[in-house]
């Protein structure tokens, strides 16, 4: 007989083993640490941003207050990220489905590998490629859009260099592709065989099987992956800073102009001091809040359907 492991009883009488205690302590510690770091960042941002937020309007860049200064940046950031998400997610889901359900296994893993490699490309490289190679090639497309779909407020006179918010958005779409693809592929592969066969046995074609069993099952994961991608797009600095020839706000996404919060910070931070520095940090605070809101929204969407998630 082994000697019983040393145990302690808690007040409720359940046995508490040292291993469990150590583990729950460690995980509690990590959770608290994360919260502390998050709170620390938030605190730093708020403190440093306060001067800009409370300064009289005419002292802020643009001379009409912080809100007036920051909203075009918010617009640029949000629009670029949304376009990146709208363009990138369907392609990512398509690739993920192809890899998980259509491609022969060898080809599937080869493609998966290439997509993962994309994630390893530094954003500076994406930025340079986007500016030097991709942007000029997009100009004819922009001209075409301007000519044929010019009534859409986002499509105005096209820039001659192609270094526009639209180009930045498309490059961002490519950049978020790997993360959204690999998360989606993972969840699609986890669809229980049982549910796929249930659909097939009802007379589903392959695509119908994917629609009835695979996509609904994977949806929370895909949303999670998309949010990771959106987070990356919202915070992307180098690529946007390099590609976009920044300027004042314009509705026209095909012309130069606009900027995003990360690009604005990266381009101006080195020379900034005093109130200007505080302005930039306040802009960072706004970005932080946007990212937080996006994640809470995604969480809410996933939870709303939790009952139907198949996890019970």
């Amino acid at each position: 007989m082994n000697a019983p492991a040393p145990t302690k009883r808690s007040r409720t009488g359940t046995v508490r083993r040292p291993g469990d205690l150590a583990f729950s302590g460690a995980s509690l510690g990590s959770a608290v640490l994360i919260l502390l770091i998050l709170a620390g960042v938030a605190f730093f941002l708020v403190m440093e941003a306060l001067p800009a937020l409370t300064a009289p309007g005419e002292e802020i860049s643009g001379g009409e207050g912080f809100f007036h200064y920051v909203w075009p940046l918010v617009f640029g950031t949000v629009v670029a990220s949304l376009i990146a998400m709208l363009l990138g997610t369907p392609v990512a889901i398509g690739i993920a489905l192809f890899v998980s359900h259509y491609a022969p296994r060898r080809l599937g893993s080869a493609i998966g590998f290439v997509i993962d490699l994309l994630a390893a490309v530094p954003s500076v490289v994406f930025g340079m490629w986007g500016m030097a190679v991709f942007a000029p090639r997009l100009v004819p497309l922009y001209d075409w859009l301007d000519e044929h779909a010019g009534w859409v407020p986002f499509f105005g006179d096209a820039s001659a260099t192609g270094r526009t918010l639209m180009t930045a958005s498309i490059v961002l779409a490519v950049m978020i592709l790997p993360i959204v693809t690999s998360v989606s592929r993972e969840v699609f592969l986890q669809t229980p065989r049982l549910h796929e066969e249930a659909a097939l046995a009802l007379g589903a074609t392959k695509w119908e099987m994917i629609r009835t069993a695979v996509l609904p099952f994977g949806m929370p994961g895909v949303i999670g992956g998309t949010m990771l991608g959106l987070g990356r797009a919202l915070g992307e600095t180098m690529a946007v800073a390099i590609i976009l020839s920044t300027g004042p706000f314009t509705w026209n996404l095909l012309g130069s102009g606009n900027s995003t919060i990360p690009a604005e910070i990266a381009l101006n931070f080195p020379e900034a001091s005093g109130l200007r520095l505080s302005e930039l940090i306040a802009a960072g605070l706004v970005l932080f809040v946007i990212t937080l809101a996006v994640n809470l929204f995604a969480r809410w969407i996933v939870d709303r359907r939790a009952e139907f998630s198949g996890a019970n």
Partner: protein, 259 residues
């Protein structure tokens, strides 16, 4: 509804592995046919060839004919998707779609068959199928709740409702009660008895009493040794198989289990 199936010289393979050899049998309409035999002898494999689900597994292929009312399911121009719409299947483990409500589960197959359903027609169809599966009274107040919230036995009857909602000719069941408690098992056995009025029912079971209780005809599968293909040893009325089997192996298997 309800058709007759003639299987002729059917050999079944997983890649190079010869899983079941040379099966010939006739499955009568409006009756229950049961398959028994030791595990691994190819009962599930054979059952899945009757709705072409076998070929869903990579490497799965067959050689021979399965005729449904004279038409070869493996004919050149036959779409397996059409076969599966006529030959429904219930699996060993209940598998309602976790992302769908009870009602949507029942209608899942109908919705695949593309035609748009008015909501009144959908309600009516769901009720009919659920009544057909003896489940209506238990779920009628929670049709919009997830199917995964039901008990195992109810989930299995939900799967039966889902299968009969598309009005198949034949209903295949692979050990439908093996994950269920005795009371749920009884409910399903009663249901099988009702179903044979309208459908050709084929059931695999590891439980010989169950085969004796529910089926009209029984097939005994066996394999000579591991690694050898399974084969159909004897196929006869359930009465004959259990009371005076003509093969020694059948008798051994049945008496071994009962004794």
């Amino acid at each position: 509804m309800s058709k007759r199936i003639d299987v002729k010289d059917l050999d079944i393979y997983y890649g190079d592995f010869h899983a079941v050899k040379d099966v010939t049998m006739t499955i009568e309409p409006r009756s229950v046919t049961a398959f028994i035999g030791p595990s691994g002898c190819g009962k599930s494999t054979f059952l899945r060839t009757l709705n072409r689900m076998h070929e869903v597994i990579p490497g799965g292929r067959v050689d021979g004919e399965v005729l449904m009312d004279g038409e070869n399911l493996y004919g050149r121009n036959v779409d397996p998707v059409d076969v599966r719409r006529q030959v429904g299947m219930v699996f060993q483990r209940p598998n309602p779609f976790p992302t769908m409500s009870i009602k949507e589960n029942v209608l899942a197959g109908v919705r695949l068959n593309s035609r748009r359903l008015s909501s009144a027609a959908a309600d009516e169809l769901a009720e009919k199928a659920l009544r057909g599966a003896n489940l209506w009274n238990e779920v009628k107040d929670r049709l919009d709740k997830p199917g995964s919230g039901l008990s195992g036995g109810q989930q299995q009857r939900l799967c039966i409702a889902r299968a009969i909602a598309i009005q198949p000719e034949v209903l295949l069941m692979d050990e439908p009660c093996s994950a269920l408690d005795p009371i749920s098992t009884l409910a399903i056995e009663d249901l099988i008895n009702d179903l044979k009025a309208d459908y050709t029912v084929v059931i695999v079971t590891h439980n010989m009493q169950q085969a004796a209780r529910v089926s009209d005809r029984t097939g005994f599968f066996n394999l000579e040794a591991t690694g050898r293909p399974g084969e159909l040893v004897e196929f006869d009325t359930t009465q004959a198989i259990f009371n005076n089997p003509s093969q020694r192996a059948t008798e051994d298997y049945i008496s071994g289990r009962f004794g």
